[in-house]
């Protein structure tokens, strides 16, 4: 019992330390610039929503959120659609070049985005996809698809092949078996995969910023630009930052049960 209590104290201290920087951002987002610059206050004394109002009324701000959400969603969908059949193939079949292909896929996860910066810019410009959501979504597939294949392969290997065979005997066609029986069995794997795909696409800035200029610009890029142009509007910057945290919290809330049990089963 004593041990549990010291553990609880330990984890509580860690969580408090973890949340302090975020609290500080939240705190600042409700202050006026005057209050921010005039001295340190632990909570907003002139509580204001003005910073948030600025963001929600200015299209150049809120479009950034919509752009980010859009390309992240496209990315998650593409990632899952292509990775699911591939992971199934890797977990069930031996085929010419399978091992090489698998390692080549994984090696792309190890490629520094900075390496691909310029070639990507030229590639997407030349095919007319520059400054579109699809361009960013495709670029993010570079690191998300290999990771997704890897995670899903782990989960699928955990499902005995007897299930596949049983389904064929019961007269299921392959697509029907895959969608109706197989996918529900690895749904926590799909949850974890979607979580990772969302996470790495949502947090990435380098590629997203390089491949966009106006129409598909992510919120993260708008934040940096605004800081440069109009001096530093700390309050709005903080509010914009807070708003980028919220989608992440929603996603983790949805997959919280899978994350606890899912990570180890699928190796990640």
């Amino acid at each position: 019992m004593k041990q549990t209590r010291s553990k609880n104290i330990g984890i509580t201290i860690y969580i408090v330390l973890l949340l302090t920087p975020i609290y500080w951002l939240l705190n600042m987002s409700f202050k006026t610039n005057q209050e921010i610059l005039s001295g340190l206050t632990l909570w907003p004394e002139n509580f204001t929503f003005a910073n948030y109002a600025t963001i929600f009324t200015d299209p150049s701000w809120y479009n950034g959120y919509l752009n980010s959400m859009l390309y992240v969603s496209i990315n998650v969908v593409i990632t899952l659609l292509v990775a699911l059949p591939a992971a199934y193939a890797f977990s069930r079949y031996k085929f010419v070049g399978d091992k090489h292909l698998f390692f080549w896929l994984l090696s792309n996860r190890m490629a520094p985005p900075a390496v691909f910066l310029l070639p990507f810019f030229q590639l997407y410009s030349s095919i007319g996809l520059f400054d579109t959501h699809i361009a960013v979504a495709l670029a993010h597939c570079l690191f998300n698809v290999p990771l997704a294949v890897w995670i899903l392969e782990g989960f699928m290997s955990g499902v005995p092949r007897e299930y596949d065979e049983m389904a064929y005997i019961d007269g299921y066609s392959f697509p029907k078996f895959f969608v109706k029986i197989f996918l529900p069995m690895i749904r926590s794997g799909i949850g974890v995969t979607a979580f990772f795909a969302f996470m790495f696409s949502w947090v990435e800035l380098l590629l997203a910023r390089t491949l966009t200029s106006v129409d598909a610009q992510p919120i993260a890029a708008i934040m940096t630009r605004t800081v440069g142009a109009s001096g530093i509007d700390w309050g709005v910057l903080a509010a914009a930052g807070v708003l980028t945290i919220i989608p992440g919290i929603l996603v983790i809330w949805f997959v919280r049960n899978h994350v606890a049990t899912g990570f180890a089963l699928g190796r990640v």
């Binding site: 553990k7 984890i11 973890l18 951002l25 069930r92 085929f95 985005p113 070639p119 980028t244 180890a264």
Partner: protein, 288 residues
């Protein structure tokens, strides 16, 4: 699992292959192409062979940046792996409390990287940031924009804040997979807490730890956005890591040939070290 030989499985893999080939092979060819040419402008390029590679390998600025990168990634692994394991051991096993801790822990992972930089940029400032203010008022002469040591400390602290939760989450799920009977047996065998960790928990964390080490190595080795926002690579170039050096070269100075050669070397280093980690950890197990 015994796998069935079946070449038609290629059809299932084809979409992934095409997609990744499009996103990776085409750009990679471009990079290789650049790396052996000197480019002055559109249509004006000369074949230079391995010149750029020689140049890059002897370039002091790049060597310094590479050293800094190794130092940083090494420090990241040394701090985050043990800390992550420790946090996972402290986390509650089940119930509402466990869900809550899980969600709170994962928050830093889901914050866009430039916002992570912004948060610490604000938090560490002496005038408007709680952290900087607290250190200063405790008598420390702390200023991350002016002092090299402070800058390093802040970048490292930021990365620990940002990424230790990933290690902790991985270890936590590994710990959860250990059946209760093992703890009961250890209790019966009068194992000390250390022995429980050493002989039950650690061996069963091995798989997730391989993943944690690999992911943390790769991602820390490619770090760009967070230190760029926080310190801009400064003071001087004391927190300029490889990705930033490369980006400055390619986009800032448009030095394409050199940047391409550098890119390839960079990529090879990541691949090589990841491979070394992977084989070292998996082989150590096989030999016994």
């Amino acid at each position: 699992m015994v796998k069935i030989p079946n070449n038609r499985a290629w059809w299932l893999v084809l979409p992934v292959f095409l997609l990744v080939a499009f996103s990776a092979l085409v750009p990679l060819m471009t990079v290789v192409n650049y790396s052996v040419q000197d480019i002055f402008g559109p249509g004006q390029a000369y074949y230079v062979g391995t010149e750029w590679f020689k140049e890059v390998l002897t370039n002091e600025r790049l060597q310094d940046s590479l050293m800094r990168q190794f130092l940083f990634s090494g420090a990241v692994l040394m701090i985050q792996i043990p800390l992550g394991i420790g946090i996972a051991l402290m986390m509650p096993k089940s119930g509402m409390k466990a869900s809550l801790v899980l969600i709170l822990l994962a928050i830093p992972l889901l914050i866009p990287w430039n916002v992570v930089g912004t948060i610490w940029q604000i938090f560490g400032r002496g005038d408007i940031g709680l952290f900087g203010w607290a250190l200063n008022s405790m008598g420390f002469d702390y200023n991350y924009t002016g002092d090299t040591v402070d800058a390093w400390f802040t970048v490292l602290l930021m990365d620990v804040w940002h990424w230790t939760p990933l290690v902790a989450l991985l270890c936590y799920s590994g710990l959860r997979a250990i059946p209760e009977a093992f703890y009961q047996a250890a209790e019966i065998d009068r194992a000390s807490k250390w022995a429980v960790f050493r002989y039950i928990q650690l061996p069963r964390l091995k798989n997730v730890l391989i993943i944690a080490v690999l992911l943390r190595f790769m991602d820390s080795f490619m770090i760009y956005t967070e230190p760029f926002v926080l310190t801009g690579g400064g003071p001087g170039s004391s927190t300029t890591f490889l990705s930033q050096t490369l980006t400055t070269m390619a986009i800032g100075q448009f030095d394409l040939g050199r940047a391409a050669a550098f890119s390839l070397i960079y990529f090879l280093i990541v691949l090589l070290i990841s491979w070394l980690f992977f084989t070292a950890i998996t082989h150590a197990d096989k030999e016994k």
